[in-house]
């Protein structure tokens, strides 16, 4: 089993003819993801790579393909509209890769998508992968391998680093989810932890957080109250200065809240094993799954 996606997930690509969209659509198809259609206004009727049908609107695409997931690669000024279009077309799972979506746009998108009953992952995220089954987004397939560990992270390349170390140590993954580095996003740590707790194949979970906000602290409380499976945590940004945006829009210590120390303490207090270095995740996982 895996969470959110599996072999049967039928995926649309919004922005399939763009630079990033076309590159990653090919990568997803190569990995085995069922890419059933693409959306680029004005290119409806054409085919991507000679086989994937392109539509002008998401509604048309859903009608023709029965897609149940979509991934968005459109530029930041259009990303809010793309997310709302997907939700309005009834797509239950929306993944937005785009980085740079204005936060005021997200204050409108989040309630809209939620009220339509869709799950949003991102924006500004690498997507997710259920190794050997399907991937949506940009996580490189070759660094992952199937196995019993669930992973959820706010980061992209740091996730790759940790997954790669896990794979080298033969600790395979059920699903790796990147929830993104923006201050307002859809799916959060708790949503993923709850899904991993329910998934019978997931035996332990890795949670990779960073400075900014209080999501990790709330997730830590969830772990101690609602989870039976062991959780290993890592927090990036112990050396980050306050008040500065560390790349990710959401990675900022405001005043004295959102520090790495505060989050690591919350992890420890709630029974989450804290890795001091990314590589330590591996040993802690071995210990937790022994």
């Amino acid at each position: 089993m895996s969470i959110f996606i599996d072999k049967k997930t039928r995926v649309l690509v919004q922005g399939i003819t763009g630079r990033d969209g076309s590159f990653h659509a090919k990568q997803m198809i190569e990995y085995g993801t069922q890419v059933v259609g693409g959306v680029t206004p004005g290119k409806g009727g054409q085919k991507f790579e000679g086989k994937v049908p392109i539509f002008n609107t998401v509604a048309e695409a859903v009608k023709a393909t029965q897609a149940d997931a979509t991934v968005i690669y459109v530029p930041p000024p259009f990303a809010a509209d793309a997310m709302m279009e997907a939700a309005d077309a009834g797509i239950p799972f929306i993944v937005c890769i785009t980085e740079g979506v204005p936060v005021l746009d997200m204050t409108r998108v989040y309630p809209f998508v939620t009220e339509k009953g869709s799950r949003l992952l991102g924006p500004n995220c690498p997507g997710l992968i259920s190794p050997g089954k399907s991937k949506i987004g940009i996580i490189p397939g070759r660094i992952c391998t199937p196995g019993p560990i669930g992973l959820v992270s706010r980061s992209g390349t740091l996730t790759y680093e940790v997954v790669y170390q896990m794979t080298r140590a033969k600790l395979g993954q059920t699903t790796c989810v990147g929830i993104g580095g923006d201050p307002i996003n859809g799916t959060n740590f708790i949503d993923c932890l709850a899904a991993f707790e329910k998934d019978p194949d997931t035996k332990a979970v890795v949670m990779i957080g960073e400075i900014g906000g209080t999501d990790e602290q709330e997730a830590a409380r969830f772990v101690s109250q609602k989870m039976s499976k062991p959780v290993v945590g890592f927090i990036a940004g112990q050396t980050a200065p306050p008040g500065r945006r560390m790349g990710h829009a959401g990675a900022i210590i405001s005043g004295s809240t959102g520090t790495a120390a505060e989050k690591m303490q919350a992890f420890e207090e709630n029974g989450i094993a804290v890795a001091k270095r990314p590589i330590d995740v591996v040993e802690l996982l071995k210990h937790a799954t022994r």
């Binding site: 930041p76 000024p77 740079g100 979506v101 204005p102 936060v103 005021l104 997200m106 204050t107 409108r108 989040y110 309630p111 690498p126 940009i138 996580i139 490189p140 660094i143 992270s153 706010r154 980061s155 992209g156 390349t157 740091l158 996730t159 790759y160 680093e161 790669y164 580095g181 201050p183 307002i184 990779i208 960073e210 400075i211 906000g213 209080t214 999501d215 890592f234 990036a236 940004g237 112990q238 050396t239 980050a240 200065p241 500065r244 945006r245 560390m246 790349g247 990710h248 829009a249 959401g250 990675a251 005043g255 004295s256 790495a260 001091k276 270095r277 990314p278 590589i279």
Partner: protein, 383 residues
């Protein structure tokens, strides 16, 4: 992006918020002329992107134009939190009967813009929140409807029991919300909002932060950027499309991805070193970015060793290798370089480096340890 008080006040005024007049000076003589124009006592305020201006000596009263000249001269020589003061705002001093705080921030928990108001104004709102949380009233705004009049009145009555002041304050709150949402802000703040002895309600200070993600589609906001009040290396990095934050350490870091960049800095510290910077070269790695990154990092005389940590996903490690070779051929490095790269096209990258007489490591911990050793001359603690 931070903007200056005088710029935020201009935006607030355009949205109807009552603010006493004021003019900006970049020399002591200009400040004197402005003080003469207003007559009476003026306040001279440093325009700088840093909190705690008052404590740092950046806000002074001046009773005469001559005094305004003298205090402006002093303030313009200051560096506050390491930033130079290049402008001062000169504004008539107001008689104050009471000070309140009003602000809007993006609240991550409710995923909305949230008002915070407090009758305890004029001081650090975080301190108020920590010590006397009952003195703060919060209200999350539904983005579909904005701040309704009755909601603004509820907030205003929390500040002023007298309707004569609550009514104009409510109007200011609605105007502030308009200024906030129209400008693409992530923070808008009036601290203090004051009442005068005659009962007027006025905004004496203004602070605004514009969401960096809005800048591309908002040329009016982009025009407010004041590069003279930023660190020059950060301006250079932004123009090269790099995310760079200068720190005080001696290990220069070049990394792809924000999370990995932070984790790399942390690991430098773990092994007994200190990171000189945060630098994310981003996902698509053209060799030009690497060249810019090295130029910016080597401009810092504190840097004693440079560490590349690249995990190739979208980033092609051969692109990064080409960038390193080009940059070091054109400008040979005076400090040692440690390269760690793994992932996409790793074999090609290693070959490129080998041909140029360089080598790379594939393990992150080993590379960080080595860089720290080189930067500290082996004095870094072996953790």
């Amino acid at each position: 992006m931070n903007i200056h008080e005088y710029q935020a006040k201009e935006i607030f005024r355009k949205n109807g918020i009552p603010i006493p007049p004021g003019d900006v000076a970049s020399t002591a003589e200009e400040a004197e002329a402005i003080a003469r124009k207003f007559g009476g006592t003026v306040v001279v305020k440093a325009q700088v992107h840093a909190g705690g201006r008052g404590k740092a000596g950046g806000v002074k009263l001046a009773k005469t134009p001559a005094e305004a000249k003298s205090v402006a001269g002093d303030i313009l020589k200051l560096r506050i939190k390491d930033l130079p003061v290049t402008k001062v705002l000169v504004t008539p001093a107001a008689d104050i009967a009471s000070e309140a705080y009003v602000g809007i921030i993006i609240d991550r928990a409710s995923k909305r813009a949230v008002f915070m108001v407090s009758p305890a104004g004029g001081i650090d709102i975080e301190e108020v929140a920590a010590k006397t949380p009952e003195k703060i009233l919060r209200h999350a705004v539904d983005p579909r409807y904005g701040l309704q009049a009755y909601e603004a009145m509820q907030l205003a009555f929390f500040l002023y029991p007298d309707v004569k002041q609550a009514r104009p304050a409510a109007k200011i709150l609605q105007q502030l919300y308009k200024a906030f949402s129209r400008s693409g802000a992530s923070l808008a703040e009036i601290n203090p909002l004051v009442t005068t002895p005659s009962g007027d309600v006025l905004a004496l200070d203004a602070k605004m932060v514009i969401d960096d993600n809005e800048i591309d589609r908002r040329p009016d906001m982009a025009a407010l950027r004041d590069e003279s009040s930023e660190d020059p290396s950060e301006v250079d990095a932004r123009n090269a499309n790099l995310t760079f934050i200068k720190l005080d350490g001696n290990v220069g870091c070049v990394v792809n991805g924000a999370g990995l960049a932070m984790a790399t800095m942390d690991l430098v510290k773990y092994y007994g070193g200190d990171p000189a910077n945060f630098l994310d070269i981003g996902g698509s790695s053209n060799p030009e970015k690497v060249v810019s990154a090295l130029r910016i990092i080597t401009a810092d005389p504190n840097v004693k060793a440079i560490l590349f940590n690249i995990f190739g996903g979208i980033t092609r490690t051969d692109d990064v290798a080409n960038g390193i070779v080009t940059a070091t051929r054109d400008n040979p490095l005076k400090v040692p370089l440690v390269i760690r790269l793994t992932g996409t096209n790793e074999e090609i990258a290693l070959e490129i480096l080998k041909k140029a007489g360089m080598s790379a490591m594939t393990d992150m911990d080993e590379a960080v340890k080595k860089a720290v050793e080189l930067a500290t001359g082996g004095r870094g603690k072996a953790a």
